[in-house]
């Protein structure tokens, strides 16, 4: 089962990785996608951006990756303004994994695909080779795939190739757009466990998702967006307690959180994120045999 509480790698004391300052973004057709957004992300965090389509979460993540430049305000990536930074600098700091792997596979072999970014950086061949080897290993692609054509691989493997091709850039921050869309339960858990693993190794992870149970299980911090603004930015548990704010963003908390809320008068932990958390709470009460007193279980927070 997915591990919910990855304890505090970095958050709170670390280096500032991303600093979005008062950013407004207007698309060429006049659509205002971001309105004066401020956001600071430290190295080693695990965040989720949630909100409806059109809420601005994808635009914000693309601004962070430097793929879109702010219309007003500025976005700093490790202190460098994205408008001044070169594409090659940005690509080595923030990696962006698109939802559909088919948008980002250009090459005829898996090897060339993963080597594509490092070659664009004009690295020497030995270093390219080393990075490809490393990226493929981390992404769980065995050597037998090196000469395969990405187009003919299964969707799951194509996704891994896409991830490996980003890892080969050795970015510090990795943004993943909709990692679990179209995946079943087991695949979702696999992908998210993999991202959690990267996070433990020091990568900063940002996921953009509609999948609330996944947010509940994995993200330590959640940014709720609606209509181009950040409605709330807080630890995930806290976010799911605020049903009214979520409602404004047209988001329903996970059912288990709603169930916990409905049982709050019996002492259920508010903002519970998984069934196991509630089970543990019940075990706690059952443990105090006979007393009938409901014991508060305060996990994390």
């Amino acid at each position: 089962m997915g591990s919910a509480e990855v304890s505090g790698a970095g958050a709170g004391e670390g280096e500032v990785a991303v600093d979005v300052q008062n950013v407004t973004f207007v698309y060429p057709d006049g659509t205002v996608a971001l309105r004066g957004v401020n956001l600071r992300i430290e190295r080693g965090e695990f965040l989720a951006f949630i909100g409806q389509n059109g809420s601005g979460k994808t635009t914000l993540s693309k601004v962070i990756a430097g793929l879109l430049k702010p219309t007003e305000g500025r976005a700093l990536v490790f202190g460098m303004d994205t408008r001044e930074a070169k594409t090659s600098y940005l690509a080595t700091k923030v990696g962006y994994i698109f939802q559909n792997p088919d948008h980002q596979l250009f090459n005829d072999t898996v090897y060339n695909e993963v080597a594509y970014g490092p070659r664009n950086l004009k690295l020497p061949p030995e270093e390219v080779e080393e990075r490809v080897r490393e990226a493929m290993r981390i992404a769980g692609l065995s050597d037998e795939y090196r000469e395969e054509h990405p187009f003919f691989l299964s969707k799951g493997l194509r996704q891994r190739v896409a991830i490996a091709s980003i890892l080969a850039m050795r970015p510090s921050v990795i943004i993943v757009d909709e990692p679990t869309t179209g995946q079943d339960f087991k695949q979702s858990i696999e992908i998210m466990d993999f991202l959690t693993d990267l996070n433990r190794q020091g990568y900063t992870i940002i996921i953009i998702t509609h999948d609330m149970p996944i947010v509940a299980r994995y993200a330590r911090r959640t940014v709720v967006m609606a209509d181009g603004e950040i409605l709330m930015d807080a630890p995930t548990r806290k976010v799911f307690e605020e049903a009214e704010v979520l409602e404004r963003a047209f988001i329903k908390p996970p059912q288990i959180t709603l169930l916990a809320d409905a049982l709050a008068d019996l002492g259920a932990p508010r903002g519970a994120l998984t069934p196991w958390e509630l089970v543990e709470w019940v075990r706690g009460i059952a443990g105090e045999s006979g007393s009938g007193r409901v014991k508060e279980i305060n996990k994390g927070g």
Partner: protein, 286 residues
């Protein structure tokens, strides 16, 4: 600035008197009026035609900034044509040499032809831009169906429009994906740009192939047959029936054809529209 609506083909005005016309009128406009400059060498006539088109843009409430988007294309086109005529226009002793660049002679006679051809093309292009900025996507299909083209042709036209739309969206995503892998075309010199452009083709085609399966399933699941026939009858033409050809359409179509006939007649009977009648032919150097 008038409010514009994005369409697959360009930008459309929110409101325009053109919208009340039948699509077939617009399709014929494209086919017939773009033939005018091809039959007319006289640069003054084509220039007048272009000015008329600009007036038509205004009348149809199409924002002129649409044309500004094509500014560079217009400038480049002129140079391409001028260079082509300089190199391949040939040389005769009676030509006026304006400039000598080593073995290359820039001659007025060649340049004059370039101007003539350029003005023909400008008018034709303006007609096309006008068509694109007043035509909603469905109009294309309705126009073709009204012209009684075979069902398959009309439907393929519609389906290709739809797939172009999807490909444009794909294209922008792919471009971002390239940037995320440290390749920004905007930062590259022109020759490299052309080389790297081929890279877009791989994912674009890949995506189209994957989509093709779903599209063909979706077509079948809605009882689609390429013949346009089904067991026991012919397919209904519902959408075209919603449009009515009215007096204005008939009048405009008549005018377009009459003008076409007039051009042909005047040109071949009297030769008024020939290049030699142009003021450009009175220009003398030295």
């Amino acid at each position: 600035m008038p409010k514009m609506r994005r369409s697959l083909l360009g930008y459309l005005p929110e409101e325009s008197p053109i919208f009340s016309l039948h699509p077939v009128t617009k399709v014929l406009f494209l086919l017939v009026v773009s033939a005018y400059p091809m039959l007319t060498q006289l640069p003054e006539a084509n220039l007048a035609g272009s000015l008329f088109m600009l007036a038509l843009f205004k009348a149809a409430k199409v924002d002129l900034s649409v044309i500004k988007g094509y500014k560079m294309a217009f400038v480049n086109l002129f140079f391409v044509i001028a260079i082509a005529y300089t190199f391949f226009g040939g040389y005769r002793p009676e030509y006026t040499v304006l400039l000598r660049l080593g073995p290359i002679r820039v001659c007025w006679e060649n340049l004059r032809w370039a101007i003539l051809v350029y003005l023909q093309l400008v008018l034709a292009i303006l007609v096309i831009i006008f068509f694109l900025s007043t035509m909603r996507e469905r109009d294309v299909v309705v126009g073709l169906r009204t012209l009684r083209l075979p069902f398959v042709v009309c439907y393929l036209a519609g389906l290709s429009l739809r797939s172009i739309g999807l490909s444009i969206i794909d294209f922008f995503t792919i471009r971002e994906a390239e940037k995320a892998r440290a390749l920004d075309l905007a930062e590259l010199p022109f020759s490299e740009k052309v080389k790297k452009f081929g890279l877009y083709i791989v994912p674009l085609v890949g995506l189209a192939i994957r989509r093709a399966e779903e599209v063909s399933n979706a077509l079948d699941s809605r009882a689609f047959r390429f013949s346009g026939l089904f067991k026991g009858g012919k397919r209904t033409d519902y959408i075209p029936k919603k449009y009515k050809i009215r007096g204005a359409d008939v009048a405009l179509i008549a005018i377009m054809f009459a003008f076409l006939a007039a051009i042909v007649f005047v040109n071949y009977q009297y030769g008024w529209l020939r290049a030699e009648n142009s003021l450009l032919y009175r220009v003398r150097f030295g």
